[in-house]
Amino acid sequence: MRVVNQPVPKVDSRALVEGQPVYTDDLAPADCLIVKLLRSPHAHALIQDINLTRALAVPGIECILTYEDCPDKRFTMAGQSYPEPSPYDRLILDQRVRFVGDAVAIVAGTGKEAVNKAMKLIKVKYEVLEPLLDFRKAKDNAILVHPEDNWKSLFPVGADNKRNLCAHEEDGQGDIESVLVSCDYVLDRTYHTKANQQAMMETFRTYTHLDTYGRLNVVSSTQIPFHVRRILATALDIPKSKVRVIKPRIGGGFGAKQTAVTEVYPALVTWKTGKPAKLVYTREESFIASSPRHEMEIRVRLGADKNGIIKGIDVYTLSNTGAFGEHGPTTVGLSGHKSIPLYGKAEAFRFIYDVVYTNVMSAGAYRGYGATQGIFAMESAVNEMAGILGMDPVILREINMVKEGQTMPAYYGETANSCALDRCLARAKKTIDWDNKYPYRDMGGGKIRGVGVAMAMQGSGIAALDTASVGIRVNDDGFYTLMVGATDMGTGSDTILAQMAAECLGCDMEEIIVHGVDTDSSPYDCGSYASSTTYVTGMAVLRTCEILRRKICAKGASYMNCAPDDVEFDGEKVLNLKTGESISRQEIGNRVMCNNEDALYASEAFSSPISPPPFMVGIAEVEIDKETGQIEMIDYAAVVDCGTVVNPNLARVQTEGGIAQGIGMALFEDIVYNEKGKNYSNSFMQYKIPSRLDVGEIRVEFESSYEPTGPFGAKSIGEIVINTPPPAIVNAVHNATGVLIRELPVTAEKIYRGMKNKEK
């Protein structure tokens, strides 16, 4: 391949490294009204009265909106295809506030100072209610987070607001209880993963204005422009035709921006006042009122025979969706459906889950989307099983892992058409030098180093749902415009889609101009999430190119007065195979602009009935101070099977970045609330993310399978890469110290106390 599988620089790289004004806040007009949100100090309360008199008198204040100004029409901020599985449980502003930080009033004015001053002068009288803060007690609790009768679930996800249930489901195959009874060893363990912040460097932000036609124009840092159009139309109760959404460059998303966190507020201000408005979340707001990972408690029952064959897997997940159900019913499914199938020899499985409402900020989508939590539990349980069996955890995996060609009952019955998990494990083992380092090495000086292993899988888009289309146009001089609705959030998806187009059309990267995303002009794409872009949108590119090539051939043939069957397009020219005559793409591009009735434009869509999983193995080496429990990352060997690697540089950086985030999740990232529901983790000082001093060495390699249904054999890469560090690091700590940690994060305190308890 000429362009695909090459380390092509990102098409937008120059603008980014030059610091060009290409992000939302750089583009907002200087005369935008500044929008800020007054937030609830209570985790659960009813607003009795809001007195705006003094606040409205502040010079420069344009408007202050309260729940009385908002449509009484519930919606979800989750960016998902309609009808959304996430319940319609929100109003833009509600009389009932459901977490500390919930929006109470929208304040808009001509400057930050005026707005800040007005915020202090708003007097709110609350009827304070008892909050529901323990997610283990939420189901069927007397305190209801959503008692309202116009709460609505559009999808049969087992939701019931009168039981605090956002979703419930039971799935399985075979008789799990009798299989477990027949096992020589059965392990029953409960694991706890915490809520984590995506902490993308660009916080949530949106600006809005009315265009020439009186339509609401929204420029937003979002992964889901088309879903935002629908969400805004629903929330504001206006026709979708009145909304246009534009996505500029995005400063990271990781799933956070798969929820429309900020859009509705400035949109309401602009719709009411007719004036441009912008809302830029502070880092604190991004920490207290956003869309973090769902906290989950996962019970795993694992049965194995004396030879180490894992025969039965039973998983129960309790997921905490917080005050609203964004992504609640869907993330939880991955905790079982993308962990259980890693083990191909199980004769039976069962997977049950509950998703509950509580009075903390709503959870949302975060890279890995439930699979991360489930894989932490499953891989930790398998590592514990290795201990019970007295087996090397790598060997236990070698004999149990899913292999290419196997059917995966817990993965919706899909077949692993492409799977190099066995090669990934072998290579990671070699890279880290497992046989010489397992289980631990005493380094002297009170330091001990352990190694730990984990496997992971994810999907490539949502099967039979995610839909992507692209359009490609031939311009004068024959250059192409590739119009995409998929949202590059910094990952480089614009680049890899252009690579695929250049490969298919036989041209250089420079000949492809990528345009996106503008809901008025971009072809529909559900957005960039669920690891869908490379696979789903990539296939739309391939299909579109195929049709466009045919059109170019037909046009070239007509200009040469020959039959389309007699010509071939080599990327530069259409050649008459019989006469040797040719016409260049450049000439075709110019000639179609006069006296022509055939648009040289193609647009095709793609949706896949399956979601081929990428696979990977991660092996961590950590160093622990035996005196203090202090843990340090030394080395991380990751080997990924994402099918064909479309861009080796970008895939590598995705992997390194995902592992660093996974290290953060494993070692220190934790959203902590006090007993009244106040979020303590509201800055980078309380919520630490890894710096370059915290990640050790990260080594990434690829073992590619070939996915027959994917573009050039490719599968996804974006999400899977966050999944292995938590279980691999917990395993490394166990192998080094004998201390088993089942609740993240793995802190020095937990290791220290674990070591002390062992001494007793």
Binding site: D12, S13, R14, E202, R249, G490, V653, I689, V700
Partner: protein
């Protein structure tokens, strides 16, 4: 109050009150490369040079820079492009939001430290957070850039 200073080689004046931070002044003056990532001096996105030294512009009071020389990425475009090309060659700019502050600090580092080793590089840049890359690609870019600079000196 007005404050007068030198921005990227040009004398400018700006309105500021006692609690205005340099970050806001610079963005208002059109230096959009300067990003705000945290407001609490933890992320490094707003790194600029004050009299040639790296400073976090979110923690510099605007009124304190009267008469001083401020440099943003816009003022070192050629050098930024040169190092930026190494960053892009690794795909390590990713979302790019932290790139301007990071590049400012890298350029300050190569001026300040002679032949820094990997640990010294990590230490110097530890205040520049990046959530996309896991830092490895940035490090590869820095190493290759420093090699390139050595070759330039030799030739």
């Amino acid at each position: 109050m007005t404050v007068e200073f030198v921005l990227n080689g040009k004398r400018v004046t700006a309105e500021a009150t006692g609690d205005t931070v340099l970050l806001d002044v610079l963005r208002n003056l059109g230096c959009h490369s300067v990003k705000c990532g945290c407001e609490t001096t933890n992320c490094g996105l707003c790194t600029v040079w004050v009299n040639g030294k790296s400073r976090l512009s979110c923690s510099v009071l605007a009124l304190s820079i009267e008469g001083q020389e401020i440099t943003t990425l816009e003022g070192v475009k050629e050098k930024a492009e040169e190092f930026g090309s190494f960053l892009a060659a690794e795909g390590a700019e990713q979302c790019g939001f932290c790139s301007p502050g990071f590049i400012m600090n890298v350029l300050a580092m190569v001026r300040e430290l002679k032949n820094p080793n990997i640990e010294e590089i990590k230490e110097y840049l530890s205040g520049n957070l990046c959530r996309c890359t896991g830092y490895m690609g940035q490090l590869r870019a820095i190493c290759k850039y420093m090699e390139h600079m050595k070759e330039e000196v030799h030739s």
